[in-house]
Amino acid sequence: MSKIGVFVCHCGENISRTVDCARVAKASGQIRGVVVAKDYKYMCSDPGQALIKKAIEEHKLDGVVVSACSPHMHEKTFRKAVTEAGLNQFLCEMANIREHCSWVHEKEEVTTRKAIELVRLMVEKVKRNMALEPIRVNVTKRALVIGGGVAGIQAALDIAQGGHEVILVEKDPSVGGHIAQLSETFPTLDCSQCILTPKMVDVGSHPNIKLYTYSEVEKIEGFVGNFKATIRKKARSVDIDKCTGCGECQLKCPSKKIPSEFDRGLKNRTAIYIPFPQAVPARPVIDREHCIYFKKGKCKACQKVCPADAVDFEQTDEYVEEEVGGIVVATGFDLYTADKQGPYPDYAGYGEYGYGEDPDVIDGLQFERLASASGPTGGAILRPSDGKEPQSVVFIKCVGSRHPSKGIEFCSKICCMYTAKHTMLYKHKVHDGTAYVFYMDIRSPGKSYDEFVRRAIEEDGAVYLRGRVSRIYRSGDKLIVKGADTLSGAAVEIEADMVVLATAMMPQPGIEGLFQKLGISYDQYKFANEAHPKLRPVECATAGIFLAGACQGPKDIPEAVAQASGAASKALILFSRDEMLREPVVAKVNENTCIACWYCVEICPFKAISKKEIRDRKGNLIKRVAEVNPSVCTGCGTCAATCFSNSIDLEGFTDEQIYSEINSLMAVGQDLFPEPEPEKGEGESPDEQAA
């Protein structure tokens, strides 16, 4: 016979305001199998917990039901308490009479009756609970960081410094990401390459970091602590070990008209190229789509001229497998474009801005390239169409962002700051020019941020016009910008030499493919979802996978770096023990009744079930059955619901337990809501006796 203890919490007055807790305790005491039932004001407090522990010892309880708030709140607390009293933690459960009862109903008779019902259900379940032990899982103490921008670099460095090996995978030929493209960063106007390149060099040379550039993650298998990643090292067509990075190949390559990705189309590059001078690794890559040899079978100029004989046209993609325990996703962002057929086909382009086709209508990153000393104009602000210095530049914020009719509702966070910065960069180089900014709001909440924007306006003379721009069109030498200034109520028309659009910050196009391989969720814009928006911003709901940087949402550099260190610390926590403990409420297959239909294998969202062969001692096959890997299984129950032969059940959440809960509900006579009273004596139950 069970010996269950029921403990009803008042939760201050959160519960007792609408539920008669004393009555619930009294009624619970009448349930068969319950030997002690108490109520108390704050069950989670020390005295409350002491009450429970004392009862366990006194009555030799073999099950505890704490009738209080949600298990999300305090299940851990109470399980810890009962463990201290010597009772297996999985024999302690909570009946939620707060979120499910007291908080959603009025103070009425039915509310208390419902609370009593909820306790009854849980008691029936706990009677059939099993004493389970947490599952122990080995942890591989290596991390995989996907993405070599500043967030990926920071996370990799932190984990490496923390004493563990890191595999850093970057799809471009060099690490660095977008910061390498910038000219100066806000609010300090630091040269961005100067602050980034030391970290890039560290990452390239750290003994604990294995750097795979020009590589992508092909496949991820496994689970937290035990991932297996298959990485595709794309063929550079250059042997990195032989190459000295002298750059002769770039100079001799005849295919020179390829728009440079690094310069965002403002300049051309060659087919064999090092993306930028400070690249890590400073080794070239051949763009096979544009290389004359790969297209037509002729040329090979680079190979002829290479002093180290490093060019290898026969090179093929190589696949490597790495075993890791935790993964940090730091794939970063790309910019929305005003084009009709941009990289984000789900969102409408800006026809009213000419779909951005005019060469003098550029985006923020392109402006950075103009301003950058390593850029196409050597740092002079010259407009793309004719190379003249623009005397009036119009900057437009919120292009794509905050524009529900074009499909994007969010704010991209950084544009207000970088636009102010752009006006300053412009004015510092074109002293007599005028910078106009069309804005709706100015969002500058960080440290020294607002002061920075005021400086742009007050000291550098940027003209801020509060309104959007309806249309941009070309008239001869100028771009006519039709906007408004709502503060003065005027429609404003500006003849600009150049227009810079602050476009929305979006996740990398097509990144959902990678997220699906990892099994992490993402939102409607394809930003990766964090486990909890407030309290768990660097982890995913999928265990062992952490987030850093703009792939999770628009953010600036200090936030990306902070988040990266946060993600690294989560990885280090994971690696701090040799073994991990997991909840044992997992599925288990009854091998006697399993009919090997494999539906559970197909339907498991976590790929936790596999096919097992049972053989006799001679090696003959007796039968095949499904087998659940308890380390991966999350206890979602999908397989149990699917199984045709009823062979799978969840330990600690069996069909029997659930049916017993339902039965107990039925036994009392169903409703808690006004209906004709049953005949006297019919279906009388303990709670009615107690009432």
Binding site: K340, Y350, G351, E352, G354, Y355, Y473, R474, S475, G476, I480
Partner: protein, 288 residues
């Protein structure tokens, strides 16, 4: 290809040249336009500016008059197209709105009905290739500025081409051999019905439009709306008088140009109705 044809009031009055040239063109292209019987005025802009649901109610009446001819209604006037298409799309997509309008007008809405602008019909139903085959006098290098105006493409729900950067008129006229020019004021408003009560505003707007067309090197402007054509054509004198600018650029209907390309005479397409004459220009290009 048979369509129920809704001319609208202007096309039987001030824009008789639009109507006539369109019928001539349609005949040559094998498009049958059967005029709906006992049609009424769609109300253009004043009707919805007076009471939006009144406009929908009248539009519903007009849509129903296509019954017995064809569910495809061909329209030339941009304002009429706008009113009818808007009502049609609203009623098809919004059940509540449909009930309201049906009750007001006392007529059931037939969701099979489709309001089509003539440009759409030429591009999608006839096809540019078929049009090209019928061209006997290519509009050889006539530099045309295609003027869309407002009501064919706004709001985006009723547009039959890209609402900000349409190319349909250009493609059609190029199929007939014209050289179209890219210009900035293709879709800028001419001032529409303000021509009567707020004439100065129209003079200002039309001045900007014509200046832009001339800056782009256009020799002639092709219009698809009777009020736009009236404003662009008839107000050039007023612009000269009040603003001192002489534009002297003819504004004609695209159906007139296409009619000529398909072998119709100047008389057939009523080319002489324009205030600013296109006759000498077209004679130069051997089109008359």
């Amino acid at each position: 290809m048979k369509y129920a044809y809704y001319p609208g009031c202007s096309l039987k009055g001030t824009a008789i040249d639009f109507h006539t040239s369109a019928l001539v063109l349609a005949e040559r292209l094998g498009i049958e336009l059967k005029e709906m019987e006992d049609w009424v005025c769609c109300g253009a802009s004043p009707i919805h500016q007076r009471n939006p649901i009144l406009a929908s109610g009248v539009a519903n009446l007009l849509l129903s008059l296509s019954e017995g001819i064809s569910p495809q209604i061909a329209v030339l006037c941009a304002a009429c197209y706008h009113n009818m298409k808007k009502a049609e799309v609203e009623m098809r997509e919004d059940g509540k709105k449909r009930n309201e309008v049906e009750e007001l007008s006392g007529i059931r809405f037939n969701p099979e009905v489709r309001t089509r602008h003539f440009l759409e019909i030429l591009d999608q139903d006839l096809g540019l290739k078929a049009l090209q085959e019928k061209v006997v006098k290519p509009l050889s290098e006539l530099r045309v500025a295609c003027y869309y105006g407002c009501l064919l493409s706004r709001p985006p729900e009723i547009a039959f081409d890209d609402p900000e950067q349409p190319t349909i008129m250009e493609r059609i006229l190029e199929a007939a051999g014209a050289e179209t020019v890219p210009w900035s004021h293709r879709m800028e408003c001419c001032g529409a019905s303000h021509a009567v009560p707020v004439t100065d505003a129209v003079l200002r707007l039309v001045n900007d439009i014509l200046a832009s067309a001339r800056e782009a090197g256009a020799e002639i402007v092709a219009c698809a709306c009777p009020l736009c054509q009236a404003n662009l054509d008839m107000r050039q004198d007023g612009i000269l008088a009040k603003l001192g600018v002489e534009h002297n650029i003819p504004a004609v209907y695209f159906t007139q140009l296409l009619g000529l390309a398909c072998g119709a005479t100047g008389k057939d397409v009523m080319i002489k109705k324009g205030f600013v004459s296109a006759v000498s220009l077209l004679r130069e290009k051997n089109l008359l």
